[in-house]
């Protein structure tokens, strides 16, 4: 063997070890998350019936403003708002922010709810595009519609924050379907630790395939579409495993834009949602962490495992790919904007564990894994790597992936049992295995696309086609 050959083998080994160690770090973190999620589920309070929740919490709950930004939602807006108004919570108001829709979203609401233009004294602390008018009706005192110039979701939410008068606000997507007792469930940490809790996230579930009527999920069923099915497994991993565990560790850096409960005043203090980012939900939580840590104030950001919100998952490759690229871009924007928090002792566990996790899973992970898909088989094929390296790579990308997905499903079945039948479990188990062969690799390419878009500083959400929920 000559020097060049030896050098090539050494270089190949170094590349292989980088790929393997990065993958192992990810897997190790997932295993830790599984353990923490298991503990969190084991010690959580019982999932109470709605009537018991009401009896327990009704006289102690703070008022909540539900903020629903709407852009070109004329087909679904009336049903969505009607469903929001029917939420079970002692004291809440629904603020729909029409973000300069080009269709008849505002007209639909005015006509259906008998709204008229009103005056209201509101805060101007958070920046957003001008408000054109406020609409309300004495018949429905809980409803207020804000009509403003278009500025995007974060801009619309900022307008809602300014107009809201409740100590807590709940940000949702206009097309989210909330469980009727979602607010009562999500408010629990604010009741139990009123001085510490600053934000709470809840589990989002996929409604594709379920029976829906009058803005409510009546019967939970699995979708037939493969992409929707595989996203159910992904959401299990993301919510039941990752977010629950990160919340248990008190390092949660993301609360989904589809449902999040926040202490209004603190959000005002950090300037509300940031503009010019597609990861505004993650960025807000990071800003809150930074704010509280900078002031050395004790606080909690919590997550509740009970489902509070249903969403329509993309069921075509094109739209799903756009969504994943956008999520990746959002995570990177937040990470690099707040990069000084990474491994910074001033930010404690957020800097080390929270940002460390983002670094491994969102920043380095996708690049190294895709690199591995190309290089590992190639280097092995040309004889520069021993077969053991290839097997180790297969372990971190396929078999450990199966373990983590199936283990999340085990957690779900042991602790929550939200899927209707044994047949559903078999289907999801098979999907947990199959998704590692092809789908996982494709999502990594989508994430690389997000990386590329981030580097090119692409702005905006891209086209998101909404079909609306299929109602029965």
């Amino acid at each position: 063997m000559n020097d060049w050959q030896s050098l090539a083998i050494d270089a190949a080994s170094v590349v292989a070890w980088i790929v393997i160690v990065t993958g192992l770090a990810q897997t190790a973190f997932y295993v830790v998350q599984l353990v923490y999620a298991g503990i969190a589920l084991a010690v959580r309070p019982p999932v109470a019936r709605a009537s018991l929740l009401w009896r327990r919490y009704a006289s102690h709950t703070p008022p909540i403003a539900v903020l629903a930004p709407a852009y070109n939602e004329e087909v679904t807006i009336v049903e969505s708002v009607t469903s929001l108004l029917a939420l079970h919570y002692p004291d809440f108001e629904v603020i729909v922010i029409n973000d300069g829709s080009k269709d008849g979203t505002l007209r639909q609401m005015i006509d259906s709810f008998g709204l008229a233009q009103v005056e209201r004294f509101y805060d101007l602390s958070v920046q957003h595009n001008p408000i054109r008018g406020l609409y309300a009706s004495p018949r429905i005192p809980r409803l207020l519609v804000v009509d403003k110039e278009n500025g995007g979701k974060s801009d619309a939410l900022n307008a809602g924050i300014n107009v809201a008068r409740s100590p807590l606000f709940c940000s949702i997507d206009a097309d989210s379907l909330l469980e009727s007792d979602a607010l009562l469930r999500a408010v629990r940490p604010f009741v139990e630790e009123p001085t510490l809790t600053i934000a709470v996230g809840g589990t989002i579930r996929i409604a594709n395939g379920s029976t829906i009527a009058a803005g409510r999920v009546l019967e939970v069923k699995l979708p037939r579409n493969f992409l929707a099915l595989v996203q159910i497994v992904e959401y299990l991993r993301a919510f039941l495993m990752a977010r629950l565990a990160l919340s248990r560790m008190q390092v949660l850096t993301v609360i989904s834009g589809a449902f999040g409960l926040f202490r209004r005043q603190l959000v005002v203090e950090v300037g509300g949602y940031s503009h010019g980012t597609v990861g505004e939900d993650m960025e807000l939580v990071v800003k809150l962490h930074r704010h509280m840590r900078d002031r050395k104030l004790p606080y909690r950001v919590d997550f509740i495992p009970e489902p509070v919100c249903w969403t329509e998952a993309p069921d075509t490759w094109t739209i799903l790919g756009r969504q994943r690229a956008r999520w990746q871009r959002g995570a990177l924007e937040t990470f690099f904007k707040h990069r000084d928090m990474l491994f910074n002792p001033r930010y404690g566990r957020i800097g080390f564990v929270g940002f460390g996790q983002v670094l491994i899973v969102d920043v380095v992970g996708p690049i190294v894994e895709v690199l591995g898909y190309f290089l590992m088989p190639l280097l092995w094929a040309v004889g520069l790597l021993a077969v053991d390296y290839l097997f180790a790579f297969l372990a971190i990308t396929f078999t450990f992936g199966i373990f983590v997905s199936v283990a999340s499903l085990i957690l779900e079945e042991v602790e929550l049992r939200r899927f209707g039948s044994a047949h559903d479990l078999v289907v999801l188990m098979l999907i947990s295995i199959v998704e590692n062969f092809g789908y996982r690799q494709i999502t990594n390419f989508w994430r690389l696309r997000g990386f590329w878009e981030f580097l090119r500083k692409k702005q905006g959400w891209g086209q998101m086609t909404r079909k609306g929920f299929k109602t029965s």
Binding site: E193, D388, A395, F403, V406, L409, E413
Partner: protein, 346 residues
Amino acid sequence: MSALGELWLVSLVLSAVAVLIMMGLVIARWIGVRRGRSREAERRRLIPLLLGIERSGGDYGQVEKAADLLADLATELIEMVRGEDKEAFIESATRLGVPERLQHRLDRGSPRVRLAAAEALGFFEDEKSIARLRGALDDPNPDVRLAAAISLASAGHAPPAVELVEKLGIGTRENSALVVGLFRDIAVKHPDEIRGLIESEQVNGRVKAAAIEALSASGDYSLVPLVANLVLAADPDAEELPRYLRALGDFGHPAAARAVHHALGSKLWWVRSAAAEAAGRIGLNDVAERLRTLLSDPVWWVRFRAAEALIRLGDEGRELLIATAESGSEPACSAARLTLAERGLV
């Protein structure tokens, strides 16, 4: 085998074990669904017993076998109804041994099971249930301890409030808003105990605030000077100040005037805001001019509460708002103009 080879092996074993466990769970679910059907039939059989329709016709041997199901069902039904129906369910459940089952759960269950048992046992006022709930005040889990205390208090069997504060760590380890309800329930039979907490120098501000909130709807105006003195004596940065002021607003008694006036000048906006709200609710017309100056406060919440308070003060407050709206100096002008417009007063 090399370390890399072992990695492959470990991953294979872990995924195989996970799949096997999942298959076991699928089988368990399949069996569970079949059992669920018989469980549903069992529920239908037990409901008449709980309703008292089959008082003597039930097979009590079968009932014992379904003790857990019966306990769940009884709790569910008792929570759903009020008045005589509730009493009837409790009587039937007691006759069928539900309290004993719940006591058993409180002694031996997981924290989640113990918590549910502590909540449900509050419906039963027999000596054994009360004794078990008292024992649960020393449970290692704080949620179970609080649930037991709430159950005891709602049944009128709570130990002295001071003892509860110590056992539950209220104001230190336990800061749940549910403590206010706990104190409120205790105050139904023993208002002096809660009043004692307000007067005590041994408890911290959080305990006092919860006690004050618990009594604020009682209409006992003799508490007003006590709370007002707490406001005057409190550290200017005390987190409880807004809670004291809101309670003074609930009482609506003018004896709080000095304390409210003092708080209107606080350097902390949330104290000024709470004081403005209290001034409006009490109807303190002599602070109207002070409220008018707060319409120019840099913080929106203070301006909002001051404007609201001026509206509550009646003609005098409205006239001040109109004058401010016409004065043209911001931000007071907008606060006054928009508040008047919102109330349809312009």
